[in-house]
Symmetry: C2
Amino acid sequence: MGRLTVVGFGPGGYEDMTNRAVEAIEEADVVIGYTTYVELLKRVFPEKEYAATPMMQEVKRCEMAVEMAEQYDRIAIVSSGDSGIYGMAGIVMEVAAKKQAKIDIEVVPGITAASAAAAILGAPLMHDFSVISLSDLMTPIDLIMRRIECAGMSDMIVCLYNPKSKKRTAYVEQAADILMRYRRNDTPVGVVRHAGREEQSAYLTTLGELKDAPLDMFCVVLIGNSATYIMDGKMITPRGYEKKYE
Amino acid sequence: MGRLTVVGFGPGGYEDMTNRAVEAIEEADVVIGYTTYVELLKRVFPEKEYAATPMMQEVKRCEMAVEMAEQYDRIAIVSSGDSGIYGMAGIVMEVAAKKQAKIDIEVVPGITAASAAAAILGAPLMHDFSVISLSDLMTPIDLIMRRIECAGMSDMIVCLYNPKSKKRTAYVEQAADILMRYRRNDTPVGVVRHAGREEQSAYLTTLGELKDAPLDMFCVVLIGNSATYIMDGKMITPRGYEKKYE
C-alpha cells in the first residue's frame, strides 16, 4: 500500500518549507504538481522526478496521484502555501474514496499566503480575521460579497486570496466599497505579490485607494480592522480593543 | 545594531518547523519565550541558551527581547504557531517603537494552529473561513459573538482559538447556539488538542454536541460550513458550491 502525501510547501523557497515538507518531497518516488509549482520546486530539488500537469486540471492531477500511489511506494502531490487551505487535500480525498483506492493519505501543512504576507507587512493579523477568495469559479459572487459584508459588519481583518485575474477585475472594488460602509476610507491595506518568492514585492495603500492598486492573481490583500495602523512603514493591528496589557 | 527575530515555530515538533525558524533559533545568542514554549524547544534544541518568562507577561517579555537585541547580535523571541497570528509580532514592534530601539525586526511565520488542526482532521479548510478567538481578555465578548454570528450568516467555516479556559466555560456553547441559527445541528465539528505535539489527540463531533465536548485552552475547534461532510473519518469541505470541477 503506497502513501500519498499532500504537501503544502509554503511560499516557494526552501527557507519557508517545513522539515516535514522537505522530507516528503525528498522521499517521494515522483512529485506531482501544477507546472508553475513544479518549476518552483526544481530550483530547490533539481534531482527529483516530477510529473507536471497544467492549471485547471486539478481532478485529473489528483486521479493521477492516486493511481501512482497505488503502484509506487511514496508519491507527493504538491501545492504552494498550505495544501489544506484552498488546496488539493480535499479533492485528493474525494478522488481516493471514489476509486476505493487502498492508499494512505497524509496532509503536510505549509505556510499559507496570509501568514507569509502578514510577516512581510508587519503584524496585521494580531486579531480575528476572515480569509475570503474573490474567485467566483466555484462560489457564487453574491455569497462571496455577503462574506465581505459580514467581515465588515463585525470588524474582522480581511485577507483576500485571488483578488484579481484578467477576467475578474471589478470584484476588488466592489469588496472595498462594501467594507467602506463599516470602516474608514483610510483603513490601512497591505498588498504582497509573490509573497516569499524571489520576485516578492509589497506595498501599503488604503481601503479608499484599493480600487486603483495594481493587483493580479499572485497578490494577497490584507485589509486592516478599525484599529489597524501604520507605524514606521509597518502595518500593525493591536491585540486588544482595550489595551489591557499596558 | 542587533537583530530581533520573532519566530513562530509551528505546533512544537521539529518536523513542522520551517527551515527559517530552525536557522533563526540556531543562530540566536539567546532564545526568549513563555516557559511552556521554551520547554517545547528544549526537546529540539537542548544546547541553546534560553530566557523563559511566565504567561501573561507578554509586554515584559517583549521589552526584555528588545533590550537584549540592543546589546547582542541576534536574539529570537519565540511563540508556537505563527508569531504573526495572535502572536508576539505586534507587541514587539510597538515596544521597539516606544523605546526608539535601534534594532532590526524580522518576523518568521510558522504553521498556525488552524493549519495544523486541518491537516489532522482531513480537509476542512478548502473554502472561506473565519479565525476567531473566544478569549475575552482583550476583546469585548459582544464583539466576539457578533463575529460568530456574521460567520454563521455568511456560511464561513469557523476556526475557534482559545475555545475554553477554566474561567471561560460558557462561550463555546453560546457560539454553537448562534451558529445553529444558520447551520444544521449535525454540521461536522473537528477538535484537535495539542495539534502537532507528542500529546496530540483529535475527535469529531457535531455543532449540536459541541457544548458537551471536552475542551480546554490547548484545543482548536473547526466548525464546518453547510457543505462540510465526514467521509471515512475525515472532515471534508468541498471546494465549490457547484461542483464544476467534476
